[in-house]
Subunit: 207 residues, 2 copies
């Protein structure tokens, strides 16, 4: 409810600024988050932003949060498999990995933003409070738990299983966005993505 648009007080500028910031970073990543441009799009003077964010870093952190949420939404979310369906468990893990890569390729700017923070808040301890993890990571944790439930991954091997998976898809995404994989044709790239996910999943199951 933006009540009196008195032309001086905006209503809820914070929201408007965040939307402008999302628009900017979508096209150009974190580097495209320029305070003056963002405030101009909101029809406001540059310094107005400082009533809502301490500095550019704080602003970026807020954008990161928004982007991570969208990322989780857009990552394919198939129904979790029944505990006794091994094939579905493996398929679920694969889907999480490919979803990660797909998001990165579809929204390069936002993907870069999602990691543009000194410390990815609360992802270091993969510990118990599963609900407090960044949403994309929670998907991965669940898929691995399902793998254990299906009897495909020994519980002893469960701790730390996130890292190989995350490493593979994260690395692939970056090679495809900023690295040499950008120059290979889309078809071949898609095959490479599938093979990468496949290799790490297979390797994980047999360790």
């Amino acid at each position: 409810m933006p009540r009196s648009r008195t032309a001086y007080h905006h209503g809820n500028l914070r929201q408007a600024l965040l939307e402008a910031a999302l628009e900017l970073t979508r096209a150009g990543g974190p580097a495209a988050l320029v305070v003056r441009e963002m405030t101009a799009r909101a029809g406001v003077s540059p310094n107005a932003a400082y009533r809502h964010f301490a500095d550019r870093d704080a602003l970026l952190a807020a954008v990161v949060e928004q982007v991570q949420a969208r990322m989780a939404e857009q990552m394919a979310a198939p129904a979790r498999p029944a505990p006794d369906d091994p094939d579905a468990a493996v398929a679920g893990l694969r889907a999480v990995g490919l979803g990660y890569i797909e998001f990165a390729l579809r929204e390069p700017g936002w993907f870069e933003v999602a990691f543009a923070t000194p410390r990815l808040a609360g992802a270091g301890d993969l510990g118990r409070p599963a609900g407090s993890l960044p949403p994309p990571l929670r998907r991965l944790v669940e898929a691995l738990d399902d793998l254990v439930a299906a009897g495909l991954l020994h519980p002893d091997r469960r701790p730390g299983a996130e890292w190989p998976c995350w490493s593979a898809v994260h690395g692939f995404a970056l090679l495809a966005l900023q690295g040499p994989l950008r120059e290979v044709p889309a078809e071949e790239r898609r095959a490479a993505a599938a093979r990468t996910v496949d290799a790490v999943v297979r390797g994980l199951l047999q360790q």
Copy 2:
């Protein structure tokens, strides 16, 4: 031969600038490459740099080249295995992967620099001119070829085998440098690195 140090003409400024740039980026990555600071360290005015580099991007490209060379030097280079030694071939591939990760952790700034280029020159076509590939990549190509020679990887599976390997170690390095893996203790991190390399190698061999 820096002959007359007449205090106006430097001798070979280009080299001095590159060394200053390496020093700066070593500590702070590409973002720390500040023209004014670099020229100051060389004892010269800011604009002097423009006699040797078109602009900051060209300068960065030159630094990238230097860093990639150092990276190749520092990546463990064990003797290539005999064509009939499967264990040695696998060990070789593992060493390349772990060397990549080790370099990234030992020289975070330089590692970031190594990828701070719009297009990683000539890495897109993993094609024939093996000598023209960036040095770190060549190591990987050789290790995979050795795997084929040892009969562990079917020649049909050889093309594109670089991507899963590179993805895994690259992703791991970034998660460890800028991502959540930074917060986990070094011991655990080392184990995760080994497991990641292991998983992808194992997965690759069984595809």
